[in-house]
């Protein structure tokens, strides 16, 4: 598995000069962590820029939480180096790392009220009482919880508990903020508003943030950059748009966003562009992911549901199918189409609401066209 250049830290990049570079907040250099026989992280290198929100996205058990725990100092790597703000942190314990962490269950101290929870880190730093009171009030104002200082965590709603946990982590002005699946315990509506709020606060404070999630839509909407993690390695690193539109391999393409896999034929490669034939349609895709594939060979074409549309008169039909089900989504309609060209036998189309419901009832024959050259092809697995 090749890692894109950006994710790879060359020997030159690991010199102290680069570490002192003001743009980089967190350096992971060739980090490996094993649990018994299981290799949770395998030679992972990653640079997190100052002030950016970096998401570690991957399925459960992929190693993303281990990575977070290594940055937090809750685990020590078997090999490799970790630096924060230009300082080597590899064997520095958590309590001297100046990091803030928010857990999935928030981990508020149940025996302390809100003010004591938020002020805990300042008390550990032996900050003067008056200063603690001032900064706690400031933090509670930031997260809009002023007035709840005397409540115990169990008297707060899930959203309020999360705000307290965020304030507690931020009040110490951490060098890095670590978020471990922070939204998964919230209901859908609250989750969306908390995500927006977190993003706002993170921008405002400019705090470097590492965010762990298995939820790809959350990752796409919040991140400055996403590192897709699988089986202890970083598969792809880049901005959300790049991850979504230019996945480097089949795993990333299927894990991030909905995708259709269609069996197509490679017509030829011309430099960076390859031409793929699907039915009567011709699609231009990057040739980078097709290295070594011969002209005329079968390839798997990955197409997002919104890049497919019902073929109108005169359009090249890429595949034929029969509508199996409609799913009304409000803004658009998802059409599930049985099509032999699809690897799974079924294609998902995302079409506008007005035509989706009336025109394409179950049982209707449909010709599928490709909307733009937004597809990507891989050699068959």
């Amino acid at each position: 598995m090749s890692i894109p250049a950006e994710a790879t830290l060359s020997a030159a990049a690991a010199t102290p000069a680069t570490r002192a570079n003001g743009d980089i907040a967190v350096v992971l250099d060739g980090v490996t962590k094993r649990f018994g026989k299981l290799t949770a992280l395998d030679d992972v290198s990653l640079l997190v820029r100052r002030g950016e929100l970096m998401t570690l996205l991957g399925p459960s058990g992929c190693g993303k939480t281990t990575l977070l725990n290594l940055v937090g100092g809750f685990l020590m790597p078997d090999s490799g180096e970790i630096a924060i703000d230009g300082q080597r942190m590899t064997d520095v314990p958590a309590y001297r790392r100046e990091i803030g962490i928010m857990f999935q269950n928030y981990a508020l101290f149940p025996h302390m009220n809100v003010a004591a929870n938020v002020g805990y880190g300042l008390r550990m730093r032996r900050v003067a009482k008056a200063e603690i009171a001032r900064r706690v009030a400031e933090a509670l104002a930031l997260i809009k919880l002023a007035g709840l200082e005397d409540r115990r965590p169990r008297q707060l709603s899930g959203g309020q508990q999360q705000r307290v946990a965020l304030a507690r982590a931020l009040v110490i002005r951490p060098k890095v903020l670590l978020l471990d699946e922070p939204f998964s315990a919230l209901d859908r509506n609250l989750r969306a508003s908390m995500q927006v709020e977190l993003k706002e606060i993170q921008r405002k404070l400019g705090v470097t943030t590492i965010f762990v999630t298995h939820d790809q839509s959350e990752a796409l909407s919040l991140s400055d950059r996403i590192a897709v993690v699988a089986e202890g390695r970083i598969r792809q690193l880049g901005p959300p748009d790049e991850i979504y539109r230019r996945p480097v391999d089949r795993f990333v393409a299927s894990f991030v966003g909905d995708v259709n896999v269609l069996r197509a034929c490679l017509e030829g490669i011309d430099g960076a562009i390859a031409t793929v034939a699907l039915g009567a349609a011709r699609v231009k895709v990057p040739s980078r992911t097709l290295q070594g594939a011969a002209s005329g060979s079968i390839v798997d074409l990955f197409v997002r549901p919104e890049e497919l549309r019902p073929a109108e008169h005169g359009m090249a039909v890429a595949a034929d199918g029969i509508v199996a089900a409609q799913s009304y989504q409000g803004a658009h309609v998802d059409l599930y189409v049985d099509a032999p060209a699809a690897l799974s036998g079924r294609v998902l189309l995302r079409v506008p609401r007005h035509e989706g419901m009336s025109l394409w009832r179950p049982g209707a024959r449909i010709g599928i066209a490709l909307a733009a050259d937004e597809a990507i092809a891989f050699k068959p697995a």
Partner: protein, 272 residues
């Protein structure tokens, strides 16, 4: 919907069974309580006339007073030592992986398997071999062994209920290990520690079999004093002691439950 008659009968039968079991459990205490208020000088049931005189007599009896004092000394030391030792072992078993961990656990819980008279006899022989006088030290040591499993269990369960992320959060906020212990771990373990101590204290104060071996006239605890008394007399003052014992213990447990939520400690709430 009207209930089926068979269902109704089943519920009645269930109610009767539960009442019968509860009655059976409480019967001894009930009989002794009634006997304690009997004005006649023999242990008889049911009483014919009511009186507080046996309470007065029991409280005034010197052997009982001494037994009570000895019992408090032994119980106080034994359950406190068992608490410290048990908490340390519970912490080790919960937090660390080491060789012979299962063996250690088995050894620590073994007094549950070894009969009390064996433990008592063992300490008697040991004390004799070492030429130790049968003073408080031997009784306390013996009781520590007997109550340790209960303390260990109670603290261990509280530790399992403690979310490790609370300690991680504290560490991330700048608390070094000893301050995590004093500001987060110990405060959250208080219910477990209190209930562990209380169980130990009740068991130790109650303990008779092993105590019989390791006490002498000067150091005998209350249960031993009661035994020696009943060998010579058979009046209801022992019943009166029993009633006082039940009232005091029930009060302690109720208070502990109100202040520390004992119920929480008796079960693992959310296994991790």
């Amino acid at each position: 919907m009207p209930r089926l008659p068979s269902q109704w009968r089943l519920r009645l039968l269930g109610g009767i069974t539960v009442s019968a079991i509860l009655g059976f459990l409480l019967l001894p205490a009930l009989v002794v309580t009634l006997a304690a208020f009997n004005s006649r000088a023999i242990l008889s049931f049911p009483p014919e006339a009511w009186s507080w005189r046996w309470f007065a007599k029991a409280l005034a009896y010197e052997d009982f007073q001494a037994g009570f004092r000895n019992g408090l000394i032994v119980t106080g030391w034994a359950s406190s030592i068992a608490l410290v030792v048990g908490a340390a072992f519970a912490l080790a078993l919960d937090r660390y992986e080491f060789r012979f961990k299962r063996t250690l656990e088995a050894v620590l819980l073994s007094p549950l398997v070894v009969p009390h008279f064996t433990v008592g006899l063992g300490f008697l022989i040991l004390a004799a071999q070492l030429g130790m006088a049968r003073g408080y030290a031997v009784i306390v040591a013996c009781h520590v062994v007997l109550v340790l499993p209960f303390v260990l269990r109670s603290v261990y369960i509280s530790l399992r209920n403690l979310d490790p992320r609370l300690e991680l959060a504290a560490a991330s906020l700048g608390a070094p290990p000893h301050r995590v212990l004093t500001t987060v771990t110990l405060p959250l373990l208080v219910p477990g520690l209190v209930s562990g101590w209380l169980f130990a204290a009740i068991l130790s104060f109650n303990e008779f079999t092993a105590s019989l071996f390791v006490t002498v006239q000067r150091t005998q605890t209350l249960p031993v004093a009661l035994y020696n008394y009943v060998r010579e007399y058979a009046d209801p003052s022992m019943a009166a002691i029993s009633v006082m014992y039940i009232v005091v213990t029930a009060t302690l447990l109720t208070l502990a439950n109100v202040f520390f939520g004992l119920a929480k400690v008796l079960n693992v709430e959310h296994p991790r």
